[in-house]
């Protein structure tokens, strides 16, 4: 019964997808009104102007573009034109670096803050103000102070990934059940051992939730940051294709960005499942 439900749900998903693609293709395959042009003039114009072809690409165009990128993901034709695989690698590398740094800072600092009610109260307003700041608002400041666009992008990821993890770590640590702490106290467990054997496992699910929020943000931010500073990365790729008004490539990159984001999220979801304990 369960299996047949899964099967039916899968089949339904496929049907919905097929219908959506079909509808999309129909919607863009219409030909608009065109005026008669003399051939010399027409030669200088694009298809939208000459044949009335929709400016919006259809699923077939996008499919062809995806295939084109998949066929050769790692080409390198100079500093401004690299394959989508290379661009993704740049972006993932930056996210890994900025996010990794944020983990290294947020978890220990969150731990210290969470263990002290005084500190958590005192720092809370600062964290609350910093948290909702848009990633791109950090960008000019980062560029101005760090004076390196690549490092700035990493910094922006760091600063944006930091807060959810910090807040969740503080919350997870400070809401460790009193009775678990009392167990550790009656067993004369020292502070370091207590941190690792009681507080960390108790707070781990909350911390992982924060990490999962953060990776989502980091991935959102890298695309935006790379669009801004350019150079390399999937964000630059989108910008470069947007610059060329190539909607087909933009849609392709949207799919790729979504896919990678999903994979990153799922990785952390797995990690989260590992540390979550039923009560």
């Amino acid at each position: 019964m369960q299996r047949s439900l899964t099967l039916r749900a899968g089949a339904l998903s496929l049907i919905i997808l097929a219908l959506a693609l079909f509808g999309w293709q129909i919607a863009v395959s219409g030909v608009g009104k065109t005026e008669a042009m003399d051939p010399e003039y027409a030669a200088l114009m694009g298809e939208t102007a000459t044949t009335g072809k929709s400016a919006m690409p259809g699923p077939l165009d996008v499919g062809a573009t995806i295939w084109k990128h998949l066929k050769d993901p790692f080409y390198d034709r100079g500093p401004n034109d690299k394959g989508i695989g290379i661009q993704l690698a740049y972006s993932i590398g930056r996210v890994a670096l900025g996010y990794g740094l944020a983990v290294l800072v947020a978890i220990p600092v969150g731990f210290l803050i969470g263990m002290s009610p005084l500190m958590s109260r005192a720092l809370d307003p600062f964290i609350q103000i910093m948290k909702p700041v848009s990633p791109l608002a950090w960008m000019p400041l980062a560029l101005y102070t760090i004076k390196d666009s690549s490092l700035s992008a990493i910094f922006v990821i760091f600063i944006c990934a930091l807060w959810p993890m910090l807040i969740n770590t503080v919350f997870g640590v400070s809401s460790t059940r009193k009775e678990w702490l009392n167990v550790a106290r009656t067993l004369e467990v020292g502070p370091v051992r207590r941190a690792f054997t009681v507080i960390l496992p108790a707070a781990a699910p909350t911390i992982l939730t924060g990490m999962r929020i953060s990776i989502g943000i980091a991935w959102l931010v890298i695309v935006a940051a790379e669009m801004l500073v350019g150079g390399t990365g999937i964000g630059y790729f989108v910008w470069n294709e947007w610059n060329n008004l190539s909607i087909t490539d933009v849609i392709t990159s949207i799919l790729v960005i979504g896919l990678v984001g999903m994979v990153l999220d799922q990785l952390l979801a797995r990690a989260q499942a590992l540390v979550t304990f039923p009560e």
Partner: protein, 452 residues
């Protein structure tokens, strides 16, 4: 004007009895000689005086004409001292050969871009990466941060940077202009029958950057037709690729932008060419090749080599017969990332105007590297006119410090090119002659302006 403070401390008599002119005789001079860094600076200054004015008679005439304090200040302007003939004349080995030059993907950057695929940088022994950049502010910041050794900037940007408009003041130099003309006012198709600017009240028009001749030309054009650009229309800063998309989405009524974008709007059937920018001012500078002055000081040879490559590429690009080849070289994704036919229409001047006819204007875009100081002076008058510069300004001094006409002329001569005879020239903007020696009067002659 802290920028032009005299670092000499006390005004110095340059015609005294000693080598520096500050002392009664050489002995007193030597007794007063500073040591360490100060000594080096003074030595450099002395060299510079000699380099600027190799002939004693000329030097004396200069000092007589401008007075001592002004002379010191004038020399100070050239403090990136070795960026003068002697540094370039020796054609020394570049201090470093791996260089990065930033550009914005528009046809104005043609010389800077094409120098890469067509081997002009290589010929100078340089390994240059031309790096596509997302916007003017980013180009500015990356150049300030020394991520780029030099960059393609809008011609007014180095002036703004040097004066500290919109950023901290950092002295920049324009050793070469990239292109003249090559911009256009593009309007949405719905305005095909509304061609008189007098009826444009309430228009939303896009420009690429505050410190751009696009801004100043559009404002000039509107003001000449009685439209106050600050109150009668909305001028919006829009990144170039978004201009066409915004035009399609009907968010803006038009824009004044580089021709490849204008042509792209025509190509995609969303807009038409109202006028080319050359119809406002034929021969106006648009973009510049810009270097920070301290970069020049740190690596004069590399900068000179870079500049030579750009000058030669510009010279090559200025010949109409080369334009098709250039279009093919710079259209791919690594550079402009535009359909070849769009780039070709811009560079060859045979283009569709969006109104159904094919126009031919070989001077639609031209490449002329010479950074006339009068260009800078005109730009400064417009910066002041629209309130970007507040207070008084020494037009000529700023222009000379940033637009390096003399240096460009020297290099051009070395490379067998023929530079213009003078570093300034008069020109006509919408029928009105601009005399670079009378910027104040020029500014006062406008009815619509923000400057008091």
């Amino acid at each position: 004007m802290a920028l032009f403070d005299n670092p000499f401390g006390t005004p110095r008599r340059l015609r005294g009895g000693c080598s520096c002119g500050g002392h009664a005789d050489q002995a007193t001079h030597e007794a007063a000689l500073p040591s360490g860094d100060a000594a080096i600076t003074q030595a450099v200054e002395a060299t510079m005086m000699r380099a600027l004015f190799p002939y004693a008679a000329e030097r004396r005439a200069f000092l007589r004409s401008v007075g001592l304090a002004t002379a010191a200040a004038a020399v100070n302007q050239f403090l990136p001292t070795r960026f003068v003939a002697e540094a370039f004349a020796e054609a020394g080995k570049p201090e470093k050969t791996d260089l990065k030059v930033g550009f914005i993907p528009i046809t104005c950057a043609t010389p800077i871009i094409m120098a890469k695929p067509m081997g002009f940088y290589e010929k100078q022994g340089l390994n240059v990466d031309v790096v596509k950049t997302a916007g003017w502010a980013v180009v500015r910041d990356k150049t300030l941060n020394k991520e780029y050794d030099a960059a393609h900037m809008l011609a007014p940007m180095p002036l703004a940077l040097t004066l500290g408009l919109g950023s901290n003041p950092v002295p920049f130099a324009v050793p070469a202009i990239e292109n003249v003309n090559g911009q256009a006012i593009c309007l949405a198709n719905k305005h095909k029958d509304n061609r008189d600017p007098k009826n444009w009240k309430g228009f939303k028009l896009a420009i690429p950057f505050d410190y751009s001749n696009h801004n100043y030309l559009l404002r000039y054009y509107l003001a000449e037709h009685g439209i106050d650009p600050d109150t009668d229309v909305q001028l919006r800063l829009v990144p170039p690729p978004e201009m066409v998309a915004n035009l399609r989405a009907d968010n803006i009524d038009g824009f004044l932008a580089p021709d490849n974008l204008v042509q792209r709007a025509v190509y995609d059937g969303v807009g038409f060419i109202h006028i080319l920018s050359k119809e406002i001012w034929d021969g106006h500078p648009c973009c510049s090749f810009s270097v920070a002055q301290d970069t020049i000081r740190e690596m004069p040879n590399a900068t000179a080599a870079l500049l030579r490559a750009v000058l030669q590429a510009t010279a090559y690009a200025s010949k109409p017969e080369n334009r098709k080849e250039i279009a093919a070289a710079i259209a791919p994704a690594n550079y402009l990332n535009q359909p070849v036919t769009v780039v070709e229409q811009v560079l060859t001047g045979t283009y569709a105007d969006g109104l159904g006819s094919v126009k031919k204007d070989p001077k639609r875009i031209a490449f002329d590297p010479f950074p006339y100081e009068s260009f800078a002076i005109w730009t400064l008058t417009q910066m002041k006119r629209w309130g970007q510069i507040k207070g008084d300004i020494d037009y000529a001094a700023v222009a000379r410090q940033v637009y390096r006409a003399t240096d460009a002329a020297k290099l051009m001569r070395q490379d067998g090119m023929t530079p213009p005879e003078t570093t300034t020239k008069t020109f006509v903007v919408m029928g009105k002659t601009f005399d670079p020696s009378k910027p104040k009067e020029y500014l006062e002659s406008f009815a619509i302006k923000r400057a008091s």
